[in-house]
Every structure is written in C-alpha cells, then in structure tokens.
C-alpha cells in the first residue's frame, strides 16, 4: 500500500518536472530567474574476500554496492527533486533493511518572501535539534526525513514560524507514527531594526512544540498514544561574545529505547525526559574560547516506540566532545547517551603571530581541548502499583565517567614548501556503554595515549607528498580491545587531479601473537572539477565511522573497492 503510494506520487512529481521543463526553455529568454536542473550521484562498490584472521566474513554475493542519485529542478520560486537509491545488496556495516532499490525522496517546494511551502520529503531543524531534526547523511545511510507538509512563514521582519506534519522515512517505507511540529523564532533586532541600529547586543528567542501519535496496540501496557515535547532557546550575541542555550522537556514516552530488563522481565519507563544544551564563546582575531555543556535525561524521541539503533529518530542530541578526523584519535569515538548523560567541553584556539620566536615566518596555530562525559546519578523509586520504573535525578550529582579527551594540536608552516601538524590526545572510554550499550558487557574501560605527526612537503606548486605517523598506546593485555596500534600513511599528489596513497595500520600490541597484523591498504583517485573516482585495495580493520556526530560500525574487510561521486 505504502509502496504504491510512493510510486504514484513519484510519477506525478516526475511528469510535473518534465512538463515544466518543456515550457521552461521558452520562458528562459524573457526571465532572469534561476531555471535549472542539477543533481549529484555516488556509487560505491566493494568486492569482498574472506579473511578469517582479521574477521572478514564470507560475503555470498562477493560484491556489494550502494548507489544513489539526486536530481533537483529549480524554476524561480518553484523547485522539486527526487532521489533514487539502490542497494544490491547493501554493503557490509550498514543496516540490512536497506534492501533493493527505489525512489526514497521526492519533494515539491514553493518559496516567496512570505511563504515557503514544501510537500514531500522534508529536512528541517528546530533550534539545536534537541526536539526536532531530520537530515540525510549518505556516508552513514542515515535519513530520517519527514514525508509530509511543511509551511514556513515570515509575516514580519525578524519573525519566522514553521509548522510541519508527516511520517518519517524508515528504509523504503515510512514509520508508523505521525509527527507534528511547530517552531517560532524572533530576532528582536531585525524586528526593530530602525530603532535598534545602535544597539550592539543582538537577541534571538525561539520556542518549539513537537508531538507524535502512534496507536497503542499492546494490551499489556497502558501506553500514551500522543507524546508531546516542548522547549525554548535564547541566543545573545555582542561583539565577539556568543551565548546560546536551549532547554527541552518530553512527556512520558515508554519505548524500547528507555525500557529496562529486571529479573528477566522488560519494564517500560514512564519517566519524563529533559535536555539542556549551552554553548558560549568569545572570539577575536587570532584567539577564541568555546565552552559547551549539556545534560540529557531520557530524551530518546522516536516516531515508533519499538524502533532501535538509528531508526526513526525525531530529535538530535549533539555530543559535546572533540570530533576527530585522524584514524587513531577517531578509533573509539564518543556517542551521546540518550538515556542519560552530563558532559562538557572547553576549547581554546590561538595563533602565535608571525615574526615571533615560536611563530616564525608564517605563525603557528594551537588548539587546546578538554571534554568529558559522565552518567547521571539516578535514584530509583519503585512504584509497586504499576509496572513503571521511575527514578529521580538531580543536577548536582554525576555518575561514573563515560569518556574524556584531553587534546592539543599544533599546526605550523616551516617554509613555503614544508608544513606539519602535531597532535596529542589522552582518551578514556567506557566501551561497554558508549559503543555497545551493554553496561555489564565484557569490555574493559580503555585509557589511550595517542600521537599524530602529519607532514606535507609541497615540492612543486601543485605537487605534494604527505606523510602521517600515528601511535596509540593502550593496555596490551586486553584481548577484546586489541591493544596498541601504530599507523603509517604516505600520500602522493603529483598534480591536482591524481592521488596515490598507501596506509599500514599495525596492531603490534595485540595480546594474541598471531593477531599482531598489518592492515595494509592502497588507494588511488582522480578528480576533475566536480567529478571524482577512487579505487582502493587491501585490508580494513573493524571500526567506527562517524560523520557529523553520528556513527556506524564497520566490520573488517579485505578486498577491492571503487567509489564514484559526481555532481552536475
């Protein structure tokens, strides 16, 4: 039924696009407005070889591929788009429910000064996303778009209202719950621009309400069919100072995500949820300081109470830890704990000026970062009259440590040809909770010291050799966590079109002698304007791959891979 609906609506969209295109060409000459068809696509495929040593399984299909293509059509105030996705079958490390192919996204939109109306798949965010955020991240196959209607209105300068309703994408269909949301934002300075011209302090206020509806069909429980969540935010900016704070609450929302198992029986939690996110910074040329804090208590918010993993999330809970890009510091990344955590981050960045002793001819960039996340400290209240498990938390007490990261990075250019980045990070990670969501799991906590040296030698104006050396020292007696690593990488870009790279990740600290393995990986690529093709061959270790704060686990693999991206 749903599939049918998807297809027919899609055909209509397409016909509309093609039709409009037809009389488009005629209108072109008389109008100067945007009138275009554009898009982008990406194709990834991998050939898998079994490798029992690194734990790469047999893949019956031998070759797996993920592909998608987006086409957007714009004509003046009108735009429309579709996305086609194909998984034959989905690559290792992604949710196997991405199976087959089809149109997964289509929309039609009209925008003018007063109104902005979209029907179809919608990406939207209220405030910092604590209550509502739908987005698409192809690298992670994350897509929780809202299939429905959205209206944005700006009735007066500085005032923005948003309203939306729909169901969320879940693989090739939509989830069972209806999501409704409303958001208002008031930029006070924009409203009173003539009066407030000389006022240096800028204030923006916002408030949102989001509610979901899902029929309750479980006769064993009294489940709320409607769950509401609401909150407010404030942003104050003056000169280099920026202060942002958002606080949200959610009504009781018993779900799989906040249920707990006691004595072999599963209990739902009827606890209310709340979350707070504060970000404040001061920045001036050559110096900045950023302080972020957040507290989350039972804020997993999904449009299906039985959903798990990354499926059907309505909101987004940002992690307040450093986002790493080098391999070793990103080995055990942090992920926000929606059931409960308190955390914060302090970052100082500055530039040692040119001409000083340390700065030399080109100056030097220094980043210092410290972040920490802990559990809450809940006190359980057993309620014997119902099956609900309720608990109390307070703002003063923290629970056990989940994660910390103390980090320093220095970037320096030594000469016109030679520059380098030097980094050190000390990380703690409660692997059981942060990565496996099993508080009593078999993993030991990990404390790691990580060093990175990244050197670039630009031997001609568009030719360079880059080299990375990374080390990570961890407890070497820990079989499950694989112990210590050292990494070497060399990358050659003979011109701006080609690159060649080789990487060796050596697990020298593995407590099992036969598993002290080299994971060697080669890659080559060609880029021309917006088109890029890359090939790679070798062994990849199992790990966690993150983009923009959401992570997925990637199993070990051995084989040949190809990736093509292009936009037009």
């Amino acid at each position: 039924m749903l599939k049918k609906y998807f297809k027919s609506s899609l055909t209509a969209t397409f016909l509309l696009m093609v039709l409009l295109n037809a009389f488009n060409t005629k209108a072109q000459s008389i109008s100067d407005e945007v009138n275009s068809v554009h898009g982008y696509f990406q194709i990834d495929a991998q050939y898998y070889k079994q490798d029992t040593l690194i734990g790469a399984p047999i893949v019956p299909e031998k070759m797996l591929s993920n592909a998608f293509g987006n086409i957007n059509y714009t004509k003046g105030k009108f735009s429309a788009g579709v996305r086609y996705e194909a998984y034959n079958n989905v690559m290792q490390g992604f949710d196997a429910r991405y199976k087959g192919q089809g149109i997964t996204n289509r929309f039609v939109r009209y925008q003018d000064q007063l109104l902005d109306i979209t029907v179809g798949n919608i990406y939207e965010q209220f405030g910092s996303g604590l209550l509502f955020r739908t987005y698409y991240e192809p690298g992670l196959l994350f897509d929780n778009s809202l299939d429905g209607v959205r209206v944005i209105s700006t009735p007066y300068k500085g005032l923005t209202f948003k309203g939306l309703v729909g169901k969320q994408r879940s693989f090739f269909t939509v989830g069972p719950g209806i999501v409704r949301g409303f958001d208002g934002e008031w930029n006070i300075n924009e409203t009173f621009d003539t009066l407030a011209q000389n006022i240096k302090t800028k204030v923006i206020l916002g408030g949102s309400f989001v509610s979901k509806y899902q029929p309750a069909e479980n006769p064993d429980f009294v489940l709320p069919e409607n769950v509401g969540a609401y909150g407010g935010r404030v942003n104050v900016i003056r000169g280099g100072f920026n202060f942002f704070a958002e606080y949200v609450q959610k009504e009781n929302d018993p779900s799989l995500a906040n249920s707990s198992i006691v004595g072999g029986k599963s209990y739902f939690s009827y606890q209310q949820g709340d979350a707070m996110f504060v970000s404040t910074s001061y920045a001036t040329k050559g110096f900045s300081i950023l302080l972020q804090g957040k507290r989350i208590d039972n804020m997993s918010f999904r449009s299906d109470r039985d959903a798990s993993l990354q499926n059907l999330l309505i909101n987004y809970l940002p992690a307040t830890t450093k986002q790493h890009t080098y391999l070793m510091p990103a080995y055990s990344p942090y992920a926000t704990q929606p059931t409960g955590e308190v955390g914060g981050m302090l970052e100082v960045q500055f530039k040692v000026p040119k001409g000083s002793v340390l700065g030399g001819k080109y100056g030097m960039d220094i980043t210092l970062n410290a972040s920490q996340a802990n559990l809450l400290s809940p006190i359980h209240i057993d309620d014997s009259t119902t099956t609900s498990k309720l608990y109390r938390t307070n703002y003063e007490e923290f629970g056990g440590e989940l994660y910390h990261d103390f980090f320093i990075e220095i970037t320096k250019k030594f000469s016109k040809k030679f520059k380098g980045t030097f980094m050190y990070s000390n990380q703690f990670n409660n692997i059981n909770i942060v990565q496996h969501n099993t508080p009593k799991g078999p993993y030991k906590n990990v404390l790691a010291s990580i060093e990175v040296i990244d050197l670039t030698y630009k031997y001609k104006s568009n030719s360079a050799i880059r080299m990375e050396i990374q080390g990570m020292q961890r407890d070497n007696n820990d079989t499950l966590n694989l112990g210590s690593w050292v990494v070497g990488l060399i990358e050659w870009t003979p011109n701006t079109h080609f690159f060649l790279a080789a990487i060796d990740q050596y697990n020298y600290g593995n407590p099992v002698e036969t598993l002290k393995l080299h994971y060697v990986y080669f890659s080559a690529g060609y880029t021309s304007g917006p088109h890029r093709i890359s090939l790679s061959y070798g062994k990849q270790r199992a790990g966690i791959f993150c983009v923009g704060g959401v992570c997925r686990t990637v199993p070990a693999s051995n084989g040949f891979a190809i990736s093509i991206t292009s936009s037009f």
């Binding site: 275009s36 068809v37 110096f287 987004y316 304007g529």
Partner: protein, 171 residues
C-alpha cells in the same frame, strides 16, 4: 514501473550532464550570518567582481587546509582581481558553535555563513565537502570543484584571474 522511473532518471540525467559550469544563478536558500541574522543566498553579490563560494565544516581537515592556503594570499587576490570568498559552513548543531571560534582564531578574512539545515548545500547539489564554486561578475555559477589537494588553490586562482579578465575557464 521501476524501470520507467529508472529510464526517466537516466534520460533526465543525460539530458543535463553539462556540469555546473552552464551559468545558472545562485539558488535561493536562507543561511545564517555569524551575528545570528538570516540572509538569502540569492542576494550574494560582489559589485560585478567574481565570487568564490566554498563549502566547509569545522571537522573537515582538507576544507580548513584549503581555506588556510587561500588566506595566505587572500589580500593579494582581492587586490588583483576584486574576488571575494564566501565560506559556507555545513556544521550541524554539535559543531555550529565552533564556526565563529575557528574562523576568528584562524584569522580568516572571509564572509562566513552557517547552513545549519544544509538547505543551501542541497540547493547547490553538494555531496561532500570541500566543494568550491566560482561565480562570475554577473552572478552566474561558472565552475565547481570537489575535494582539496595541495596546489588546488593556485588552479582556482588561475580561473579567478581569467574570470576577472572575462576569459573562458578550464577545468
């Protein structure tokens, strides 16, 4: 049914495989200034001089390398050609607070906007960052490039100079 859709998709794709260099205007999207106010991207202008639009993120190493490399010669570039660089951050709520601190501590002299909901990113068909566009003096998108390797900034500037002189571009 599926085949029809696919066929349509392919046909449409091939019909328009001319790359982003075919001279479209900048599409309309709302992005946020660092002072919190909003601006429509179709109002980007530089008084008849070329514009570079660079999509980046605070967590993207190559993006920051590219913007650092351009910053070194940015004052020369603007003097010689009048070019202006507009840096569009695609950071989400987690890292949007870091945009202003990165920009200031790095000392970048660019016009910086935050595209927190990725509206402009989608409208410009950006898949991965860094992705760089060139806009000519009449506001038309005439060139684009994905990814960054050492020396890309020199190739970019060659194109900026050609644009400033009104010559045709190479990819």
């Amino acid at each position: 049914m599926k085949k029809i859709i696919l066929a349509l998709l392919v046909v449409t794709a091939f019909a328009f495989t001319s790359s982003r260099g075919d001279g479209d205007k900048i599409p309309s999207s709302i992005v946020k200034k660092l002072d919190g106010s909003k601006i429509n991207t179709n109002t980007f202008s530089n008084g008849g001089k070329p514009i570079i639009i660079s999509f980046w993120a605070t967590w993207c190493k190559p993006c920051k390398k590219e913007l650092d490399a351009i910053q070194e010669n940015y004052s020369e570039w603007t003097k010689e050609t009048g070019v202006k660089l507009i840096a569009i951050s695609i950071d989400d709520a987690r890292s949007a607070g870091k945009v202003v601190t990165d920009v200031k501590s790095k000392g970048w002299d660019y016009e910086v906007y935050i595209d927190e909901n990725s509206d402009f990113k989608r409208a410009m068909n950006v898949n991965n960052v860094p992705h760089t566009f060139l806009i000519d003096g009449t506001g038309k998108i005439v060139w684009s490039h994905n990814s960054y390797t050492e020396g890309d900034e020199d190739a970019l500037y060659e194109n900026v100079k050609k644009l400033a002189k009104g010559e045709a571009l190479s990819h």
